[in-house]
Every structure is written in structure tokens, then in C-alpha cells.
């Protein structure tokens, strides 16, 4: 029963990892940009939520109503003002610029909020749990997992059913030709980053409620996000959810053997999958 419990908890944790990864996957899919600052942007979202909830006395979950649009705006501005200038044939400049951005973000957060670990206080819901047969599962983890499923489904729908999604896919296929179809690349990239950071805002707030965070917490989240994307297969959103779940389950099972093995077990699972299936478990069939 303990093992079953670990698997259920790991699956729910996977929802959070899928939220870390979804924005990363979206950006890479649309513009082949590897966003090294993604983890720090997750942490930035948590701090933005902290500021809103402290200054306005809001529950951090309610603060999402403000944090999501704020981060979307930050994303659009970031892309239009900085990242678009680095986009071209060479993938190295955006990589270096987002790495620099990561360093800057960490230090700005350090100046503004100090290195003390912070936490988002969501109240009674944090400890609430429901009985699931013989198991007790937390309401928050279930909520995070459901959110992840909804976000992935919404992104999937957006990609395949809306004009914006088709613009994203056309750009991803043939950027130069897409521009000849009247597609404004700078704007479309801006919208992609806005969407990515809107999802990141959800991830950041859920992270802040789940654990303590500090300005240096981004790196690990970036790694978890990358691992979930790679395990699931690049360009496959449902695969990213599966990747998050596999990573989460590996971690909780590792922790079950010995609490010190939690992170290591996740990395080992990632490495095994990378060795056996270099393109991930569910690569996009037509890629």
C-alpha cells in the first residue's frame, strides 16, 4: 500500500512538472528557442504572486488572476524587446541571452527579496485531503494535476483548432514562407512567449504553495522541465504530461527507498529513457 501511495503521489507531482515543462515545450516548438531562464521565470512568478498576495492581502490562488496576465505581459515584452533581436539561423545567441537573463533575474530577486526562503500561504487548502479508497491524497496536489491536464488540453486545442495555433505551427514548419503569408513573426513570437509565461505563472504559484523557494531555486525547475519534455518526446504536449508523471513517480519511488534518493532517482529514470529512446517515449510521428 505504501508503494501504491508513492505512485499516486508521484503522479500528482508529475502534474506540477508538466506545468514546468509545458511553457518550455511551447517555446521550443514554435521558435526553436531553448529558454535557459525558464526556471527563473517560474521563480519570478512565485515572487510576483508573493508581492500581490502580501500587498493586497490576497490568497495566492486568487492572486493568479493578476499573476497570469502580468507574466503574459512580461513574456510579450521580453520577446519583442530582447529575444526577437537574437532570433536567426544561429541558435546560440538566444541560448546565451537567456542564460544571461537567468543570471540577471536571480540577482534582481536577491536584491529585492533577499536570499531568505519564502513561501506562499494558501491557507487550509494546503493541508486538506480527501480519501481515495485506502489512500489519502492532498486537495492541492489533485488541483495542480487537474490544472495541468486542463492546460495541456487547452494548449492542444489552441494548436490544432485556432488561427493562432495554426500560425504557430506554420511558423514552426517554415518561418520564411509563413512571413510571405502575411504572418508577423515578431508578434507571433511575442504571443508564444506570453502564453508560455502565462502557464509559467501557474507553475510558479503552485510551486510556491508546495515548497519554500528562494532566488536560486530556478535551476532545478529548469532541469525538471527539460527532463519532462525529453522523456515525453519533443513537440508532443500529452507526451510532456506523461514525461512529468514518469519523472514524478521515479522521484517518489526513489524517496520511498531512501529520502536521499528522490532527485537522483528522477535523473536516473531520465537517463535510462534517454539511452533507450533518444527521441523520447512519444515523439511526434510526423516530426
Amino acid at each position: 500500500m505504501d508503494w501504491l501511495n508513492a505512485i499516486v503521489q508521484g503522479t500528482l507531482l508529475g502534474g506540477l512538472y508538466a506545468l514546468f515543462a509545458a511553457g518550455l515545450s511551447l517555446i521550443f516548438g514554435v521558435m526553436r528557442l531553448v529558454n535557459i531562464a525558464h526556471g527563473d521565470l517560474i521563480v519570478l512568478s512565485a515572487y510576483v504572486a508573493l508581492s500581490f498576495s502580501v500587498s493586497l492581502g490576497l490568497n495566492p490562488l486568487l492572486a493568479l488572476v493578476l499573476v497570469v496576465p502580468t507574466m503574459a505581459l512580461v513574456g510579450y515584452a521580453l520577446q519583442r524587446l530582447i529575444l526577437n533581436r537574437t532570433m536567426g539561423e544561429d541558435i546560440l545567441p538566444p541560448l546565451l541571452v537567456t542564460f544571461g537573463l537567468s543570471v540577471i533575474l536571480q540577482n534582481v530577486l536577491l536584491m529585492g527579496y533577499s536570499a531568505d526562503p519564502q513561501n506562499l500561504q494558501a491557507g487550509a487548502i494546503e493541508t486538506a485531503s480527501v480519501s481515495l479508497g485506502p489512500l489519502a491524497v492532498g486537495v492541492m496536489p489533485v488541483m495542480v494535476f487537474v490544472t495541468a491536464v486542463v492546460v495541456i488540453a487547452a494548449l492542444q486545442w489552441m494548436f490544432y483548432r485556432t488561427a493562432l495555433g495554426r500560425a504557430f505551427r506554420a511558423t514552426s514548419d517554415r518561418q520564411d514562407v509563413a512571413q510571405l503569408m502575411g504572418l508577423n513573426r515578431a508578434h507571433v513570437f511575442g504571443l508564444a512567449m506570453a502564453l508560455s509565461l502565462a502557464v509559467t505563472a501557474l507553475a510558479g504559484v503552485f510551486l510556491g504553495i508546495r515548497t519554500a523557494f528562494d532566488p536560486a531555486a530556478g535551476g532545478t525547475r529548469l532541469i525538471f522541465g527539460f527532463e519532462a519534455v525529453i522523456i515525453g518526446g519533443l513537440g508532443n504536449l500529452w507526451g510532456t504530461l506523461a514525461g512529468g508523471v514518469i519523472l514524478g513517480v521515479a522521484q517518489t519511488l526513489g524517496a520511498k527507498i531512501d529520502p536521499g534518493y528522490q532527485i537522483l532517482a528522477g535523473h536516473i529514470a531520465f537517463l535510462i529513457i534517454l539511452a533507450l529512446r533518444p527521441r523520447g517515449l512519444f515523439p511526434r510521428i510526423d516530426a
Binding site: 495554426r166 505551427r169 503569408m181 508577423n184
Partner: protein
């Protein structure tokens, strides 16, 4: 009548290779202009300059009297210039309908039902409507060429640039494509058409222009141009319908 598209003294060179050498020509509204020239003469580069894929070194390009020389490719498309590629470049991972839809929403600025209706109308005219839900990567050559034309038309162009759209087709395929292009022309769209399949070109255009080494070397009535020394020199030893 003022020109819909006008090039004045357009120059472009890549190092020592001159692809456009002081090119000046214009296209009247509703006109169909054919472009001939040997391989490497700068015909496709001329299209790249007009659509904004390449920037000019000198000269001006005007659309309906407005200077568009500094405009981005996307802005030129929205203003009414669309093209097809010699080697079809579909969005291979999207369906035929979605390919058309991108041009209709981004280029023509349509949305919702209006965009869908426009796409279906164009696909019907280009004979691709039955293939709407097929992935563009799986189309035959003729279908890909038709998709090139469909995408360009979905952007609601005032000027359409066709780059060797009849090349590589069988005689029957070519005839049906000519009919489609004639229908498009009849709706009032101005056409510039680069083509080696001369009989296809002559079935549509009312004026011919010959380009070599990036320079316009002849221009005029199709029959007169076909008999001219310049064309005979260029196509010497090459069958007109090769």
C-alpha cells in the same frame, strides 16, 4: 492608368553576382505579364525583391503608387502581394485546409467563418477541396503546385507572382492548371508569371518580358518577343517547350 506594381532602377548584387541590374518595369491593374530568361538570369531573385524576402541595394518598388521598398515581407503580403514557389514549400505538417487558413487569417486578415468560407471557395476553384484534410506533406507534385496557388489566393492578393508553376507537370495537368490560372486572372487579379513552359505562358499573358544577367533585355507583345533575336539567342538549342 497607373501601375499596380512598379519597379524603378532596382538593383541587387551578392558580391560580384548581380541578380538585379537597374531593373525598371511595371504591371497594369488586371494585366498578366510573362517573364522569360535562362536559368540564373535573376527571375526568382526579382520575385524575392518584390515580396520582400530580399532587400534592394537601390531603387524603389511601388504597389499601387505607394513606396513599399522598406516594408517587411509580411506587410507586403497583407498589402496584396502573394507568390507561389518554383519548388513547392507547403507547411508539411499541416493539412491542406490549414495551409490555406494561415494565408486567409494572416494575409487577408479574415477570421472565423469568413476565413473558412474563403479557404473552401479558393480550394474549390483550385481543385483541392477534396484534399482539404490531407497533410500537405503527402501531396503529389500537381497538388503541391495547386496548394501553392491556393495559399497565394487565400491571402486575397491584388498581384500574384507565379514562379514556374507549370514546370514538371504532364500535358494534361498543365492544361487544367492553365484553366485555373485563367479563371484567377478573370477575377481581376494581376499576374506576373515566370515560366519555361512557353505555350502555357502564352495561353495567359498579354505581354512578355525577357531577363538575363539581372537586366531586362526585351519587353513587348508575346509574338514579337518570341520572334526576337534576344529570345532566340537565349533559347538557341533549347526547344521552346522543353
Amino acid at each position: 492608368m497607373s501601375a499596380i506594381l512598379e519597379l524603378q532602377g532596382v538593383k541587387k548584387a551578392f558580391g560580384a553576382v548581380v541578380v538585379a541590374d537597374d531593373q525598371s518595369w511595371s504591371l497594369q491593374p488586371g494585366e498578366a505579364l510573362g517573364v522569360l530568361g535562362p536559368n540564373g538570369a535573376g527571375k526568382t531573385s526579382m520575385f524575392n525583391l518584390v515580396t520582400g524576402t530580399l532587400s534592394t541595394d537601390a531603387g524603389t518598388i511601388r504597389l499601387d503608387g505607394q513606396d513599399i521598398t522598406g516594408w517587411s515581407a509580411a506587410k507586403r503580403c497583407r498589402a496584396g502581394i502573394a507568390r507561389s514557389f518554383q519548388v513547392p514549400q507547403p507547411f508539411a505538417h499541416m493539412t491542406v485546409f490549414e495551409n490555406a487558413y494561415v494565408a486567409a487569417t494572416q494575409g487577408a486578415g479574415l477570421s472565423g467563418r469568413a476565413a473558412e468560407a474563403h479557404c473552401l471557395d479558393v480550394l474549390d476553384r483550385t481543385g483541392l477541396v477534396a484534399k482539404s484534410n490531407v497533410q500537405a506533406g503527402g501531396l503529389t507534385l500537381l497538388e503541391r503546385k495547386r496548394l501553392e496557388l491556393s495559399r497565394a489566393l487565400c491571402a486575397k492578393p491584388r498581384v500574384i507572382l507565379l514562379d514556374e508553376i507549370a514546370g514538371g507537370l504532364t500535358e494534361n495537368e498543365c492544361q487544367s492548371l492553365i484553366q485555373t490560372i485563367r479563371d484567377v486572372h478573370a477575377t481581376g487579379v494581376s499576374i506576373v508569371w515566370i515560366e519555361h513552359v512557353v505555350h502555357a505562358l502564352l495561353a495567359v499573358v498579354s505581354r512578355l518580358m525577357v531577363i538575363d544577367f539581372g537586366r531586362k533585355i526585351a519587353e513587348g507583345e508575346p509574338q514579337a518577343i518570341m520572334q526576337s533575336r534576344e529570345v532566340k539567342e537565349i533559347y538557341l538549342g533549347i526547344e521552346a517547350d522543353a
